[in-house]
Amino acid sequence: MRGLVAGAILLVAVVLAVFFSVRYGAVHLSTHDVLQSLLGEGGATESFIVLEHRLPRALLGVLVGGGLALAGAVFQALLRNPLAEPYILGISGGAAAGAVLALALGLTSAVSWLLPGAAFAGALLAIALVFGVAISADRRLDVRVLLLSGVVVGAFFSACIALILALAEAEMVRSAVLWMMGSLAGATWRSVGVVAAYTLPACLLLLALARALNLMSIGEETASYLGTEVETVKRLAYGVASMVAAAGVAFAGVIGFVGLVIPHGVRLVMGSDHRILLPLSFLAGGAFLTLADLLARVLLSPAEIPIGVVTAFVGVPFFLVLLRRSLRA
């Protein structure tokens, strides 16, 4: 019941976030203009700004933010580690390197169904590297070791991106910012469609794994006694959560801390039942990233702050508090 109420509140929050995102921007439009445009009765210019420029961007924010938060919640459950999330584990970095490589080799145009695939390959490579490093150091996957290997792998992929951009073409230097700090500026209906096609089914699949994740967060042994196919669930959840993160990274670049802050915020209020935590994380993440993008666009308009700057300003203090607590425990 509480979950439903919270879900309804967050759903309203998402709708409001999208509305504000469509309402405000570099150009002042009246609420009337915006509503008329949304109803398909606005002037050509207003309609273009609202329907072709702001709305796809807001929806991309919902999908990417929701996907990152959900993936973060899943990684935290799988690793039984509060600091796990795609960015800190280096998975976003791997996905970005995969996407940049595909673009630089001309394998795919900027908006293509293949781009998330290349990002996914990079994400899987990052996971393999992070866990390879962490396990070779300490089989129990200690928090500190895992974070350290995530940082190392993340730095490695940042270097790969810088190298690819240096080798490719001088003018791609500008877009390096996109890949390293993230931006929703490239949003079009097509990119929204591609991200939705990857993210939504993957999210449904992860929601279906919620019960198994509940059991596994108690302990893998307990979970297997209670009839969970632990290995299958683990592989599936890692793969699908990486896919979700990769799809977002492919079109919005590396955006940090959403996967960390949001699930923890939700957990603080609603407890850690994944059947509630996962859907609420998606909604909260979607609303959060859309609002963060609104700030990124409006604060220094018409210039834009990279969205990763906004999420980091919120996320880094939060991360430090969590790190302190978790290392004390």
């Binding site: 273009f48 073409e169 018409p302 210039a303």
Partner: protein
């Protein structure tokens, strides 16, 4: 200069960002790598072979079809009355063509006093699409280059006609001026501008024809410094002004960073740099000649720029 824009372009020195925004493009274009674009006197000028707007009959009516510098074809049904220029050099030409009242949008880099009241759409690359669209332009003049692939796409989606320009070399500047003249229906004035430009360049060339030619490294700032390559109008201006581009043999056709060691190896007589450009310490022992800002604008003022460069290189010839 907007500090945020520099923040958004990490690794590029402040002055260079301005140049890239003014010059527009730096992507390697094999066709731009030729070193043999000698200026010819106006009467003997052979128009660029890509397109020849000069042969267009003067009484050409509307609608008219243009081929822009990206090779795109666009049709104008009437002379556009609402123009947004994202290219400062093109803006300057539009002003010269008497189109001040038709300009409804500019960039942060246009500082002509007549444009003070014209709203800005931000930078020339990746401008604010919202601000651009809301001006309801009939024609947008934009850079052709890979740094900004989003803007042409957005303009296409918005159904706004855009004319791509790419003022790399002097011939490209010439073509840009004629394209703008045709787009406005003011070919005669565009030709006059070019004639004046050619005369100014010729005057500079004649003045220093017999002077010894120093080997010059033309630096745009940064460390390693970005240099002027052989496919650029700045290279051509340097040669017209009586200098030899010491770095013309390097592979970069347009603008590119080059190691300090490479510059030292080229037996450079002197360093030419824009005022305020950062000079790596290893190059400070070479004689330095500074150029005032504005020289780097690829517009019809290049005659003045050539004279400015020539005066600095050959003060004795200009006495």
């Amino acid at each position: 200069m907007n500090p945020l824009r520099d923040f958004l372009s990490p690794g590029l020195p402040l002055g260079l960002v301005a140049i890239l925004l003014l010059v527009g493009c730096q992507d390697p274009d094999p066709s731009a790598g030729q070193d043999d674009r000698e200026m010819t006197p106006p009467e003997a000028h052979t128009p660029p072979d890509r397109q020849d707007p000069t042969t267009t009959p003067e009484e050409e009516g509307w609608p008219r079809t243009l081929q822009d510098q990206a090779g795109r074809t666009l049709e104008l049904t009437h002379p556009p009355t609402r123009i947004v220029s994202l290219v400062p050099a093109a803006t300057a030409i539009l002003l010269e063509l008497g189109a001040t009242d038709r300009l409804v949008g500019r960039t942060d880099y246009d500082d002509a006093p007549t444009l003070e009241d014209v709203p800005s759409v931000g930078g020339g690359l990746n401008p604010s699409i919202e601000r651009l669209v809301v001006l309801e332009p009939e024609l947008v003049v934009r850079f052709e280059g890979q740094q900004d692939r989003a803007t042409p796409r957005a303009l296409d989606r918005a159904g706004i006609t855009h004319l791509a320009v790419r003022p790399d070399g002097i011939d490209d500047i010439r073509e840009m001026a004629l394209l703008l003249g045709r787009a406005l229906g003011r070919m005669e004035r565009a030709r006059e501008l070019l004639t004046r430009m050619d005369q100014e360049l010729e005057e500079v060339r004649d003045r220093v024809a017999h002077a010894p030619r120093p080997r010059v490294a033309f630096l745009l700032g940064g460390d390693p410094p970005w240099v002027v390559g052989p496919g650029t109008f700045l290279h051509e201006l340097l040669e017209i002004a009586g200098g030899e581009n010491a770095l013309a043999e390097l592979e970069a056709p347009l603008y590119a960073p080059v190691s300090v060691e490479e510059i030292l190896r080229q037996e450079v007589d002197l360093i030419l740099a824009l005022e305020g450009a950062q000079i790596p310490s290893a190059l400070r022992r070479l004689p330095l000649v500074q150029l005032p800002e504005g020289v780097q604008s690829p517009g019809v003022d290049i005659g003045r720029s050539a004279r400015e460069i020539s005066r600095k290189l050959h003060p004795e010839e200009w006495r």
